[in-house]
């Protein structure tokens, strides 16, 4: 009985044959809807901040330099490739690429930074149309994430101060 089962087990192995893939010597294409590294399109982005508000990993930072210039930075270190940023972007400025071989020893390699020219009316955050109340902007107005340390700052302001909010994670909410 047990011998028979050994024969059967051997058959399972023999029938399978060799299954190891030659990856990475030969590339291995992924499925079409695979979610790899998100790519930001500076030409389409309007700087509404919707992606930053809805990134579960808090990997998209926004920093208002002055009235007209807003910097958006995708840090990408903790990014889980969940694709929520691409989901909520009203301008379809984010594409989930099929790029998954992102291991690097220079962490800045994966980051993307966009400088956006903003027209004045867009400060209120209203240009982000949330799919449901669950996605609404958490921080309206001006945001001052800490670009020097790649850190999200939990707070935003209704006015643009000359003092930077760097290293201050408990500035007043408006």
């Amino acid at each position: 009985m047990s011998l028979l089962s050994k024969v059967k087990e051997a058959l399972v192995c023999l029938r399978a044959g060799r299954v190891t893939l030659p990856y990475p010597a030969a590339p291995r294409p992924v499925a079409g809807n695979f979610r790899g590294r998100p790519i930001f399109d500076a030409a389409k982005c309007i700087g509404c901040g919707g992606c930053a508000a809805n990134c579960p990993a808090r990997e998209i930072l926004i920093h208002d330099v002055c009235q007209e210039i807003r910097v958006l930075r995708y840090v990408g270190r903790r990014c889980t490739y969940c694709g929520r940023c691409a989901d909520v972007c009203p301008e379809k400025a984010i594409t989930m690429s099929t790029d998954f071989e992102t291991a690097t020893d220079a962490i800045g390699d994966i980051g993307q930074t966009i400088e956006l020219f903003m027209s004045t009316c867009q400060r209120c955050g209203r240009c982000f149309k949330e799919p449901s109340p669950l996605e609404r902007l958490k921080q309206k107005g001006y945001r001052f994430d800490d670009l020097a340390h790649d850190r999200w700052v939990f707070g935003s302001r209704a006015y643009l101060d000359t003092e930077r909010a760097v290293d201050d994670i408990r500035i007043e909410m408006d």
């Binding site: 047990s2 089962s5 059967k8 399972v12 192995c13 499925a31 979610r35 109340p133 669950l134 609404r136």
Partner: protein, 562 residues
Amino acid sequence: MSIAMAERAKLEALRARFGAAIRRADLPGNGRMFVTVDPAAIREICRHVFREMGARYVISIGADDRPFSGEFLVAHNFAFDGDGVLCGLLAHLPGDRPALDSISDVVPAANWAEREFRDLVGIEPMGHRYPKRLVLPDGWPEGVHPLRKDVSWDDVPKDFDEDLEFKFDEAPDGCVVVPFGPFHPTLDEPAHFRLYVEGEMVRGCEYRGFMAHRGIEKLAESVLSYNDIPMMAERICGICGCVHSVAYVQAVEDAAGVRVPERAEYIRTIMLEMERLHSHLLWVGLACHIVGFDTLFMQSFRIREPIMWMAERMTGNRKTYALCLVGGVRWDIAPETGAALRGVLDTLEKEWRGVVDAVTGDRNIQARTRGVGVAGPDLVKDVGLVGPVARASGVAIDCRRDHPYAAYGRVAFEVITERGGDVWSRIVVRMKEVFESIGIIRQCLDKMSPGPIQARVDDELPVGRMGLSSVEAPRGEAHHFLVTGEGNRPRRWRVRAPTYQNLQGVPAMIRDQQLADMTIALGSIDPCFSCTDRMETVDVRSGLRRTWTQEDLVRLLKKGGA
């Protein structure tokens, strides 16, 4: 008897027995019961519910409700599996004196949960027989309770001594201590067991875990928002992530009364079963690996791989599907994908039958696993064991049938049980469950019709509502408790993974067994731990003990080896 009638009958029974101690009851009529009771009577009520009314213990939750009601809240959750009712027994405690009677002498399964809310919320379970710290490390200062609302998510107390060593209990007379873990060749994740060994026989053990508690609940309650949490919930477990993401969104939907479209429920069901397939195949492989049968380990993984590829095609990723949002799912299943999935299932079924056929006759595996790590029905009841471990002891509990969620109420399947209660029975249960899962996915593909996959959520979710959700993970019931809150995020979210209960059964399962059987007995509950930061080495030649701290290890790594 309908579920609503069963709920009312239970409530009447409680009222008849305890009268005014039952202060308030909320029966939403969907298989949930929230009964607010007099804290002074909590122990007796829990005993009655657990012993007399035959409920299964699920979990206890402590919550800091002071900013909203000025009180602390404790919920002891029980399940009436036969009637499809999940019941929370709630006690409100004064904000300045959070203490109530421990129930762990009448409900032994509550041992850990009570110690956990003592650590994290600072609610004292009075009369607990073993009130040792469970989650917090010994170096954490007294009186700082991370889950209290006045403690910020990023606070680290100044007097926290990270390097303080754990204080362990004395080993019983005549026993030597064998440390097992945190790192051990057959443990894929860290947990530390101090085994008390007499000769070759294990007489008992002490467990220390939670070495790198990740604080997910705190983050959810203070930083993330409703629709961020599913992506993080998915990362609670490296294998059954989708389970936690579904359990979380269901708890929100249950609390807020969001109705999920039918197609989304089918898709959730399909992905949950995909997950069970790859988890069970992985586990059978690992079990074989632990007992030294690597051939089958390799074959299980080979057979499993197409499932992973299929999941990638369906959701965009092998493992972290990022599937759920409150009110639905994100990825639809196209007809071609459905057809391809059927093809994968057909091959899997054929190949798996071959393996099962071979293994069931293999005396070597049986010799190694029969009569090992035995858990009888009494232990299942007392410690609250769940999943394949309970079913292998003849206790037919399965949330998919007992508390139907998603589309499980609309498909037919069998709850597999065995009688032996040993490791072998657990292998058999899991091997057979693979076929049931295949059947469930096929039925879902047949039955689902086109339609929306995401409910419209037009208003903010109501505040202060409670929701419960139990999902049958591959390892057993995963239970989530949630209170909705302000600021687009929950006030309290408590996750109980199946291993939380199953691990508590390990000391009893390994008692008076051979030391060599420890690994497979532990492996048989399919444990799921977390990450750790220190280890202990013993130099056998000099007998010198050396404890490696996190800093030592980091230094060693940077140097490139010792």
